[in-house]
Symmetry: C2
């Protein structure tokens, strides 16, 4: 899958890397809406060069986020080996939102449903798959209220995105109250 279709010229390869580095930083700091001009400037490259390498913002996103989203798989798999299904589920939520809180771009991706890039979409689906399994196990184990669904989790995730955006210090507190509402009974 490394499809090195056409080998880039030396300067082009260098600029591509500088662009990716700049975009990675800025997406994390300021979210996916950061102006293209800012990315080009931080990469010390002209706006035209940015568009040569990445004709759309989507292209940039899909070049960057598959790696970021791999972290989702890591926490998902970590949770799946946990013996206590309720504990696994809670830890998963904590890890997920900690990730979101660290990266505004990731927060944006998980909040809105705009990631049209196929690799991003599939990573999100994998994440949802993990979540669904964890939910089922936690319900079966009797810890999680039986009516909790993946839809509720999506809603929670969007709500958390907002909390993280405007009061980053509050998300753990917010989550802990919500989680108390999730216990069976």
């Amino acid at each position: 899958m490394v499809t090195a279709s056409k080998p880039l010229r030396a300067d082009a390869a260098r600029n591509r890397e500088k662009l990716l580095a700049a975009a990675t930083q800025l997406f994390a700091e300021r979210g996916l809406d950061v102006p293209m001009e800012h990315i080009a400037r931080r990469a010390e490259v002209s706006i035209g060069t940015l568009y040569k390498h990445f004709p759309t913002r989507e292209d940039l996103v899909s070049a960057i986020f598959p790696e970021r989203l791999a972290a989702l798989d890591v926490i998902g798999e970590k949770a799946l080996v946990d013996q206590d299904p309720w504990h696994a589920f809670v830890v998963y939520l904590e890890d997920l939102y900690a990730l979101q809180a660290e990266d505004r771009g990731l927060n944006d991706i998980l909040a809105r449903d705009l990631p049209n890039a196929p690799e991003v979409v599939s990573a999100c689906h994998r994440g949802a798959g993990h979540a669904e399994t964890l939910i089922m196990h936690a319900i079966a184990g009797g810890g999680l209220r039986p009516d909790f669904s993946i839809t509720d989790m999506a809603t929670l995730t969007r709500a958390m995105a907002q909390v993280i955006r405007d009061s980053p210090g509050e998300w753990r507190r917010f989550l802990s109250i919500y989680v108390d509402g999730l216990r069976a009974q």
Copy 2:
């Protein structure tokens, strides 16, 4: 306080009303960020006239929202006469978010903390006062977890704003889970 400083000319008074009506509609439908041009167009008035009457968006907001925010007082006072303090608190939350769900402009005002207009600010303070009393009573009554604070409520409100924006059908469900997390014990 009706300060009819200078009596408006007949046409001006008419236009002012048309502008207020248009803005009230559009704020409720599309939120506070609706373009000024749209408001003028819906009022069938030129953009210049809009700016003559309301030099800033803030002026428009503070002409419209005090009335809307009075609804907050109504639900606050309704809740305060409820005998059961836990029930009062829960009903207050439900009424509040139902209000938010009906009016995107109100949702915006309560979510972001941008309402600089003095009358809007004071209405929000009154609302927060009611909320704080209800919280104290509900804690004293033993229904609400004792560590719940007005800060938590502000966080919840912003989270709800987001839920209402991107999945208006989900807010009751979301609230009910959160409220389950709020019971004492």
